[in-house]
């Protein structure tokens, strides 16, 4: 028997929590095609954004000019600098591109203990307040580790436990190596949200809805690296999740993090 399938994206005003800059024309086509009304722009490790603030400001500025309030820019800190230097870095990003969140990438190589992380988080709070912190979740895969390093979620949870004042977003729903039971992080820490791009399975996303609540899931496309339609289909095909809940994931859950 043949099955007729189609990608019928409901007429939702989508909020995309995870995008990167691209060729502007392509970017515009993409957000128009998928009715993406607002979005977060994140620095990319693949594009070396974390190491070149000037270039990052230069590439995000046209998006702020074109999209205004529709674009929410995430910035970064530099773990090789001290707290005062990071305050300057953050002030610069606030002034020039109005960053409203921070992305942390494991390849930035930082120590995972409260004492060494505290000055960086204090710098963020001092300059920007308790803004959302997004943590990318594919920890570096190294041959010298023998096998895929386990416990990425454990590491994420540790960082979260140090700073309960901040809201944290688990990028890529745990990543390809540690995606099971992500709902437990949300259950244990009320300040944890899950971003859905690149989530390898849909079951773990459904579990978040069933066990914790829809409001914990934030739709992300990871454009231009992943297919936007693929990431939307992922949400639309979540099992035993109502249309209303799917709509909230695609449309409005972000409000809890950015609106008063």
């Amino acid at each position: 028997m043949k099955a007729r399938i189609s990608l019928e994206i409901p007429n939702y005003d989508i909020f995309d929590f995870h995008r990167h800059v691209s060729i502007m024309e392509e970017f515009e086509k993409n957000i128009t095609k998928f009715n993406i009304k607002r979005f977060c722009l994140m620095p990319s490790m693949l594009e070396d954004d974390f190491n070149d603030l000037e270039a990052y400001i230069e590439k995000t500025t046209p998006y702020i000019q074109k999209y205004g309030e529709r674009a929410i820019i995430f910035g970064f800190i530099d773990f090789s600098l001290n707290a005062d230097q990071n305050k300057e870095l953050l002030t610069e990003q606030k002034k020039k591109i109005n960053i409203r969140g921070i992305k942390i990438h494991p390849e930035q190589a930082f120590n995972i203990n409260r004492k060494s992380l505290d000055p960086f988080f204090r710098a963020i709070a001092d300059i920007l307040g308790y803004i959302p912190i997004y943590i990318h979740m594919d920890w570096p895969l190294l041959e010298e580790n023998g096998y895929a390093p386990q416990g990425k979620k454990k590491t994420f949870n540790r960082i979260v436990s140090f700073f309960p004042e901040f809201n944290f977003i688990m990028g890529h729903a745990g990543g390809s190596g540690d995606y099971l039971n992500v709902w437990k992080s949300c259950k244990k820490y009320p300040n944890v949200y899950i971003e859905t791009s690149m989530a390898p399975v849909t079951s773990t996303l459904s579990e978040v809805v069933w066990n914790v609540g829809t409001e914990k899931l934030l739709f992300g496309s990871n454009y231009p690296y992943c297919g936007t339609s693929v990431e939307i289909v992922k949400i639309l095909n979540m099992y035993k999740v109502s249309e209303k809940e799917k709509r909230a994931i695609l449309e409005s859950n972000w409000e809890g993090l950015f609106l008063p």
Binding site: L7, Y147, A148, P200, V233, K234
Partner: protein, 284 residues
Amino acid sequence: MIIYNDEEYELWDAHSHFSTLISKRLKFVLKYLSTYETMDILFNNWKENKKIAKERLERNVKFYITVLDYYHIDKSIHLPVFKLDRKLSYRMNQLVPERIFGFSNLNPRSKKLDEDLHELVEKKFPGIKLHPDFMKFTFKKYQRELEKILDFCSEHKIIALSHTGSHSELTNIIPVLKKCEAAVFIMGHSGLCPQIDQALQVARECPNSYMEMSGNPYTYKFMEAIKDPDIGIERILFGTDIPSLNPRVELEKIFALDVSVEEKRLIFSENLKTLMETILKKKF
């Protein structure tokens, strides 16, 4: 067979699983290996479903077919989850050889590697599954054994498919594939996120390697592979990784590619069909 935008596509799945351990009592463990939807397909009418066949292996073959039918998959490669599941693969090859290509599994660390290889021929398995993570080997450390296995596979027309992406430097398979150039090697998941660049490198350097797409979210990397004159669309295969992944999402990954309908058909079915026809020396 599915219809998408009025175009028909046959589905040949290069990566799927089932297990003889399917049982309602084990549902609490199976949820880590299977989507809830697939479990519900089987368990919601468990008592009735169990009557589908008396013999356990035959019943599991039929359960697996129920899942394939549900997702409109025409033909599939079945990869054993656990060692004991090679019996299930064997039974599949006996019962439904026109639809299912049941692979065996092989551990390069096996102390009776020669016996294991001999069994492949004896039981006419068309392929083997390697899993560096579960089987605790790396392509580098077990290079000699892998060469032996792939030489044997090429001699006896057996496909090798390996899980990739979670550990073991994937590029370390390159010298093995160059040495065993007649062997067919499928990179399951194409290196997932962490090793996609390595998978591309393997594909570029080794024309006997194939990239299977299940679980890999990087659309742009597959476009890179398709446009690369040293790889090309003919070496990219559709896979669902059922029951672990959601087939609807895996389908969309191909629909999202900026290629023609004919090229999508290559990925969905024609590439694997060509491969299986060559290996099995028969027409499908």
